[in-house]
Symmetry: C2
Subunit: 316 residues, 2 copies
């Protein structure tokens, strides 16, 4: 066999692969895990040239795929494959482009819920109390997006649709449509105090770790909301918990953490004004992942450049 699909969603990928009628998409194996049916010995004997897999599953089989040319991750995040000790003699591609609409749903859901005070309305109902107070409105508020790649741009478009002003922080400042003002990390002291919402979408690289610390949070408005849909490593979690407990910022919404699932005794479980979700902001739907894979497979067979290549050095 020349290809291997190794995924918890193996059955879905098998279905899409069979439906796809992609010429040359044949001679592949699809499985959820290495087992009695497909063993490491089988892999070594085979000549697997491409692999479609979750990064953690890929990590485990890399040693058994001496002929690997291309690895298509089913996820956006591929950190586990970037350790300097690991082999880098293949082309690594990840999934982009499909997450922006889902991330936009998540970010706008939580911005709108905050303005429209959904939790306060639920609490008032429990107390059978008519909540005779004004809500906020999202229109006219300012959103700062940390990391304006394809996902950040999608969030920017959604924010602009609702009449928000959008600020962006990127590695190298350049004008961007749908972002009113773009700066770099050195501009944070002037950008952060202007934002009503700050959302982190940065990939996990050495440069983006621990960016959100006590100083960062102290630069935000006390009425502002912090969201993290990027990577947990961007946030010093004790600093965020302290900022929420002390009213340095108004609220936070987290989908990613330094350790997942969140450990049983983590401070976040008892932190006020903190909404926790379970790394579910933008699920990888197999149908969409397969669409990216199918196009890359076509390019692979044709010898063309692959989409969404990850640089082992840059980390994204």
């Amino acid at each position: 066999m020349t290809g291997l699909i190794l995924s918890k969603a193996a059955l879905s990928y098998q279905h899409f692969a069979e439906q796809s009628r992609i010429e040359d998409l044949r001679d592949w194996w699809v499985t959820e895990c290495l087992d009695d049916v497909l063993s490491a010995d089988d892999l070594r004997r085979a000549s697997v040239r491409w692999l479609l897999a979750e990064p953690s599953l890929a990590l485990a089989v890399l040693p058994y795929l001496p002929n690997l040319v291309w690895l298509q991750s089913t996820w956006a995040g591929v950190e586990v494959l970037l350790a300097p000790s690991l082999r880098r003699d293949y082309t690594l591609t990840n999934i982009r482009g499909i997450f922006a609409p889902l991330m936009s749903e998540y970010v706008l859901a939580h911005c709108l819920a905050h303005e429209r005070r959904l939790l306060a309305h639920e609490a008032a109902k429990r107390e059978k109390r008519w909540l005779n107070e004004h809500n906020g409105v999202l229109r006219g508020k300012t959103l700062l997006i940390m990391g304006v790649g394809s996902i950040g741009m999608g969030i920017a478009q959604a924010a602009r649709f609702f009449g928000m002003r959008v600020l962006g922080v990127v590695g190298t400042a350049r004008p961007m449509s749908d972002v009113d003002e773009v700066g770099t990390f050195v501009d944070l002291p002037t950008l952060l105090p202007r934002a009503d919402y700050v959302v982190n979408v940065l990939p996990n690289t050495p440069a983006t770790q621990n960016v959100v610390d006590a100083r960062f949070l102290s630069l935000m408005k006390s009425s502002a909301v912090f969201m993290n849909v990027g990577r947990g490593q961007a946030v010093i979690e004790a600093d965020l918990a302290a900022a929420l407990s002390n009213g340095i910022i108004s609220a936070a919404v987290l989908d990613v953490y330094r350790e997942e699932p969140l450990p049983e005794h983590h401070v976040f479980w008892d932190t006020p004004n903190l909404t926790l979700t379970s790394h579910t902001a933008a699920p990888s739907f197999p149908e969409e992942v397969f669409g990216v894979f199918a196009e890359n497979h076509r390019r692979f067979v044709a010898g063309e450049d692959l989409m969404y290549q990850v640089s082992f050095e840059r980390g994204y």
Copy 2:
């Protein structure tokens, strides 16, 4: 004086009126209520030709304004002025155009919160439990809008932005951009079973009262969500409470009720899967209301047709 501004937001309107520098916008009186400073007798003696007012306040002063030519409501809903026993010898205009973005925020906030299970995440956090379940996504879901005027159209555009399919019910079917399929009330038996979300934006007219009854709700998917941001009279509230208690539909979100504030012993306080808000979906911001008024005042002085005229017969 030739004009009267009678509003709980009198001070704001005074500010905007003074700032506006509108030629001929002079010789008016602005107050929160009739009192010792401005009495009914004063009004009778004056020759008030135009009135900017909340409908309920306008109702109280109509008998004292024999020369009234034009009444600009500060609200969209003007039912109290439409009773057949009341005078109809003036031009009634209401506020439109400014509510669509705010209503869209509200509707999308609650659609997204339902898909992304915000309340379930809050409950899980209280129990220190990692909610290891999939969320829904809004993209691909179907929204049925009851009443596609300017507000309904704004909601349709927001829904389409998030990749929803939009169905509409109107009095007279006609093709509409941003609505995938338009029908009339007779089409409800085929439209309702296809909708994941049903939102009522109908004005309160004899034809739209009690539209949402047990039969209507039984035609909806058991997984579907009903929202009312139109008028409370559209819904038979006991039927809705029963449908929610019996799992006929999944959830409901209400901003308007037959009686407001919701009475102390109303069944809704104890109805499950029901979110209550306090007629705050789309607040009338004086600045925006004044913008509509200022343009209509210009037209009034120039003898042009006024925007947003309400038909006493149709009721909207």
